[in-house]
Each structure stands twice: as C-alpha cells, then as structure tokens.
Amino acid sequence: MENATPALFFAGIDIGSTMSKAVVVDAQGAMRGYVVGPTGAEHRRRANKVMEDVLLKVGITLDQVAYIISTGYGRVNVPFADKQVTELTCHARGVASLFPDVRTAIDIGGQDAKVLKIKSGRLTDFLTNDKCAAGTGRFLEVAAETLGLELNEMGQISLQSDTPVKINSLCTIFAQQEIISRLSEGQPLTDILAGVYIAVTTRVVKLARQLKVEPPVVFTGGVAKNSGMVKAMETVLGMPVLVPEEPLITGALGAAILARDEAFKLVQDGHYKIQKKQLSEAYIEFTEKKL
C-alpha cells in the first residue's frame, strides 16, 4: 500500500454515560477523524462500534493504531485499550491541545459536571458533581420533556429572552414542578427556558468558583453546543467562554494525544516490547522532524 504519511496512529475512546466518542490522531498529534454515538446499555459492544466507525472514517485498520487509551465512565469496558486514564486528565489534555493557554475548563455531561484547573496544559485541580442532576445535561432533558421540546430546539428559542424566569428549586423533581407552575402562570416559554439555563449554569459555576475561575475559560460537553447555554454560562460567570468546534470530543481527543505521548514514552524508556514495532520508527521520524 502506498502511503505518504507514516501509518502510525493513536486512538482515544471516551465512553460517557450517554454518548461514546472516539478520536484518532497521528504521530504529530493532529486529529485525523472522530465519531460520536450513543452509549446505550452495552458498553463493550459500543466501544467496538465506535472504534470500527472511526477506523473506517480515517480509512485505516486496527493494526495501524499503535496505542489506545480509554476514558470516561465506561473506560473499564474497552477490552482493546492499552491503558485507562480518567476523563478528568483526558479532558484537560484535549482542551489544552485546542486552547494551549486555557486555565479553566468547564464540562457539562449528560449525568455529571466537572471543573478543571489547567496550567501549562496539565491538570492541576478539579471538582466534579455526580450526585445531583440539577447541574447536568440531565436537567435540561427533564426540562425539555416538561416543555414538550426537542433538546436541539431549546438553544435558539431562549436566545430571544432578556428576562429569564427564576427557578429556585435544587432538586430536579421540584424544579420540574416549578417549570409546570411557571407555564400555568402564563410565563413565556423563552423566559422559562432561559431560566432553566441560568439554573443549570449557576449550579456548575458554584462548583467552579470553589476552584477560583481564571480566564481563559473553555466550555465543553454536549450542552456547550446549545447557544442558550453558552450565553447563560457567560452571563453567570461574568466572562466570555471559548467553545471548541466539537465540544463533545475533547475527552476522546485528550485520550488519543495521551496515547501518543504514552507510547513515545514507553519507547524512550525501552519498555515497549510488543509487536507494534513500527512505533519506534514513527517515533524516530517524529523526533527528527521536531528537531
């Protein structure tokens, strides 16, 4: 097979609670392709599926992938991964690869939220919220159901509101009741939605404040695609936020880059003994290029 670039790739797989993501990078750490799909109940099958899909998308085979790191809530269920790394470290690495100066990253996932402090591309401190749905994507889903909307419709609608309704309840169930009573009071849908965004972001920003928010701030996770959420985040935070083009895949991207780093480190330390011997060639090529 003719191939101009070294046939050496590294992959990161992020099995989140609702979505699974896979990213492939090359020896230079540049992203060559990604896929995103729902996680579902069977993590193992899902891991195989996203891996197959991403290989197909990049146009390579599994033996061209030298090292794989799995991350996320389902990271232990990726049988072909060489190593598991927490989503916190992976997110930090992924975000820093896109925004090298980042100091704070806020990620809101389907079932959790995390705040990362990053310095020189490294994770230095973090906090997570996995106990309470109120500060996660789950809350938005509940709100969408209650309002009879599709999730992706929500963002645009709320952008029109200047007077968000105040949602006081801490608990998702109470908040749902509150949304219903606001609706029955005849409050405009846009104001209620904007209120929901403010409520979710307020919860997460409280978490973030414990770590002292420093700019630049990067906002990731599925909900960062929602323009209403981004606006709410900037309002509550009182500063602008950066959002990656594809805010769902930063964890998988970080895992892929870490896979590359890890593989090179193993070669350097002379520990790399498995048959993927092309790796050492790629490594030499890579370091020579760098020089």
Binding site: N168, S169, L170, C171, F174, K206, R209, Q210, K212
Partner: protein
C-alpha cells in the same frame, strides 16, 4: 374576650393571634444590631459570640462590651431570604457543603467581608451587618462542633478566640448530686481565667458589682419566661410558637438592656395570663389540634405556620433548647463566678432527675415526654435539619418514645434552618391534612388507655 390583648382586626383576619407584648421584644434584638454597629463606627469593639447559655454573655455585658450572635444573625439572613450568597461563599472557600447552615453562613459572611470587600461589611447584609470582631467567643454547649467553627474563622480574622467550657453530660454520670460541686469548681476556674483574659484584652477591669446585678436580672428574666411557659399549657394555647421564636433572644442571650427586657417579659406574662383567664387562643381559628414543634424552625418559611393555623393547628410549645429552665436559687452563693456557673450549668442538668422516673436515658426524650403530658399534645411536628446534627440527632428517639409511652404521633418533615431549597410547603400541607386522621385516631387510643387528652 379582652380587646387589649388582641391585635387590631384589619381587613383580612390574621391566622396567628400575635401577642402585642411580643413586638417590643422582637425589636430589642434588631435594635441591638443597629446599636452595636453604631458603637463600632465610634471605635468600640464588637464581640462575636455563640449561644453560650449565659456563661459568656453576662461577663461581656458587665464590662459594657457590644455583642453580636452569628447564629442569630444567620437566622435573620435566612428569614430575609439573603442567605444564599453567604452559603455560596463558604462553599467556594472549600468548606464541605453538608456542614451546619449557621456555620456556613458565618464563614461566608467573614469570607465576603475580608476577601471580597476589603474588610467592609457586605452591602447585602441585613440590619447593617455585623462589624469586624475584636474577640470570637466560642462555646460547645448543646452543639460541640461549634468549637471548630470559630477556629476556622482564623482564616479571615486575627481576632483571638476563647472557647467556653461546660460539662456536657445530662446523663446520670453527670447528674449525681455530689458531682455538682466538682462541675461548678471546673466552671469557676474557667470563668476566672476567661474574665482575666477579657480584662487583659480590653484593658479594663471587670465590674463585679455589675456582674452580680446582671446575674440577678438574668434570674428574674428566667423566672418570668418560665412562668410564661407554664401558662402556655392552658387550653386553648395562649401563645403560638412563632411568638416565642420572635421574642426569645432577650432571654436566650440577653440581647439589649436587660432591665428593659425584664419589663417586656413581665408585660408578656401579664398578657398571656390575661389570655388564659379569658380563654383566648394563640391562633384566630378554633384550636383543633395542639402541636409541639421539635426542634429548630424553618426560619426562611415561618409564614407557613399561618396555613397550619388556618387548619386549626396551634403550636403550643416548641424548641426546648431555646427555653431557659426554672432558674436555681443562687441567693446562698457569694462568689459571682459561682452564681454564674450555677445558672449556666442548670440548663444542662435540670432535666435528668425526672428522666429517671420514665427509665429513659436520653434527657431530651424525657424533656419532651414531660412537655407532651403537660401541654396535652395531639402531635409532634418533627423537623430534622439537613445541616444540623445537634438539633436533629435525638428526634427519632423522641418520636419513638412519644408514640410508645404516650401514643402521641409525629409528623416527620425534613427541612433546614437556613437552606430553604429542601423544604416544600405545598407537600407538607398535603401531608398535614392526612396527619389529622392519625391524630384523631390516637386521641381515641389515649382515651382508651386512660390518659386524659
């Protein structure tokens, strides 16, 4: 019906029949914050003190020092709906969120004052706020984690801290008569050290005559409030719990001028007596059920009691920890420190002798058994707090023994003193309606057992 004892009838009937004599007492504490702040602006020191059951209050007052009570201030923050930014500030400085709401409020207040506002009072602080402390006076009585709370404020203030000691066991080991002398000896030593420290810190001498005078006044105040409590056993209950909560600070920590407070409580005693004589109720609806509130109220949702009053629920007694017991006879002691030690110690140790009669070890249980009998309670409103161990930990046991020994049922409602987000008044009202059937049932059971209510 006495016209003087009822509030003027306005257009809408008020659910709770507030005592006229409550208002001046409620104002005492508010005025105290304003006066203390004014004094601070004139350069006088402010002491931050915890509820200490008089052990520390009286020496401070005898030296003419201005005192604020962060725990009380936290209830004001909650009642005025202003608590949230202070709680958030505590969280953001790394204090665990499960901790005491009063503690978190104060930590947040201190954080915002010192770290965000350059030492100035946060602008959204109600009643003008609390001035920076010159002394932090801690106490562990009733709730011992409080020792750590003021210690943790060293992050923000360089004010010295003093922790008052108090023997803690209201159990038989601590209640044998021969132990009293040993406990008093300990307290007297501590008090002497404390007063010596106050003299050194504030560079002024203790006015011992004043201390004795105030201790005598304290006894008189407590005699009066104790009489009011006894009168409240009448049917219908002449004074609603909300009136007690509004009027308690001048007896619980002697806010304001104690002479004025004594007069106010005497007025209150007269008004309650008059209501008893005329069978006037503490609610403006027929008293259908007599409830006891245990233990600390949802300060942020006191209006909620109006809805219950409309249902005929009279809260005839509440919060045993906020009631001064019948004061001891101090006339035979000459040392002012000993008088004070005995007055203060009495709070912890007055109940146990009675507990033995019921063969129950937990003095709080015994206290509430006595209250249920005396007040002929139909039910308990149990309010376990998500952020308070001290006032919540015995409530299950109280519930258990009230049911077991007296067939008095409890309505169990989780809530908090500060955090209003866990309390859902609508849901509680729905449950309250159902609870009436339970209370009706146990009325019959009690009667069949030969109990008289």
């Amino acid at each position: 019906m006495s016209e003087t004892a009822t509030p003027s009838k306005t257009e809408k009937k008020r659910a709770i029949n507030r005592l006229k004599s409550m208002y001046p007492l409620r104002n005492v504490v508010q005025q105290d914050y304003i006066d203390t702040l004014k004094a601070s602006n004139e350069g006088k020191p402010t002491v931050w003190s915890m509820l200490n059951y008089w052990e520390g209050d009286l020496p401070l007052k005898a030296m003419g020092l201005n005192i604020v009570y962060p725990e009380n201030y936290a209830t004001l923050l909650a009642a005025s709906g202003a608590a949230e930014p202070f709680l958030d500030a505590s969280d953001s400085d790394g204090f665990p969120t499960h901790m005491c709401g009063y503690g978190r409020s104060t930590i947040g207040y201190s954080y915002r004052m010192m770290k965000e506002n350059g030492g100035k009072i946060p602008p959204d602080a109600p009643l003008g706020g609390m001035a920076k402390p010159a002394l932090l006076l801690g106490s562990g009585i009733i709730c011992d984690a409080r020792f750590k709370w003021f210690q943790s404020l060293a992050r923000y203030f360089d004010a010295p801290e003093w922790c008052l000691e108090m023997p803690m066991m209201a159990t038989y080991e601590g209640s044998e008569p021969d132990l009293e002398a040993y406990q008093v000896k300990f307290l007297v030593k501590e008090l002497k050290d404390f007063i010596a420290f106050l003299e050194k810190l504030f560079k002024q001498k203790m006015d011992w005559a004043k201390l004795e005078e105030l201790t005598d006044l304290a006894v008189k105040i407590h005699e009066t409030t104790y009489k009011i409590s006894e009168l409240r056993q009448s049917i219908p209950g002449p004074m609603h719990a909300t009136d007690f909560w509004s009027s308690m600070p001048p007896s619980l920590f002697f806010a304001g001028d104690m002479k004025v407070s004594l007069k106010c409580y005497q007025d209150m005693l007269a008004e309650v007596q008059e209501r008893v004589n005329n069978k006037v109720s503490g609610i403006n609806y027929p008293e259908r059920y007599r409830l006891i509130f245990a233990e600390l109220p949802p300060w942020h949702s006191l209006k909620f009691f109006d809805s219950l009053a409309e249902m005929g629920w009279n809260f005839v007694f509440e919060s045993f920890g906020y009631h001064a017991p019948k004061p001891p006879d101090l006339s035979k002691y000459s040392d002012p420190c000993e008088k004070l030690a005995r007055l203060s110690r009495n709070f912890m140790f007055n109940v146990f002798p009675e507990a033995k009669a019921d063969n129950i070890q937990n003095p709080i249980v015994e206290t509430y058994l006595k209250i249920a009998r005396g007040f002929k309670a139909d039910g308990f409103f149990m309010h376990p707090l998500i952020s308070c161990r001290a006032a919540s930990c015995s409530l299950r046991t109280v519930q258990h023994w009230e049911q077991e020994k007296l067939d008095v049922p409890s309505l169990w409602v989780e809530g908090d003193i500060i955090d209003k987000r866990v309390f859902n008044p609508q849901e509680v009202l729905a449950r309250a309606e159902a609870f009436e059937q339970t209370m009706d049932h146990y009325r019959k059971v009690r009667k069949s057992r030969g109990l008289d209510w």
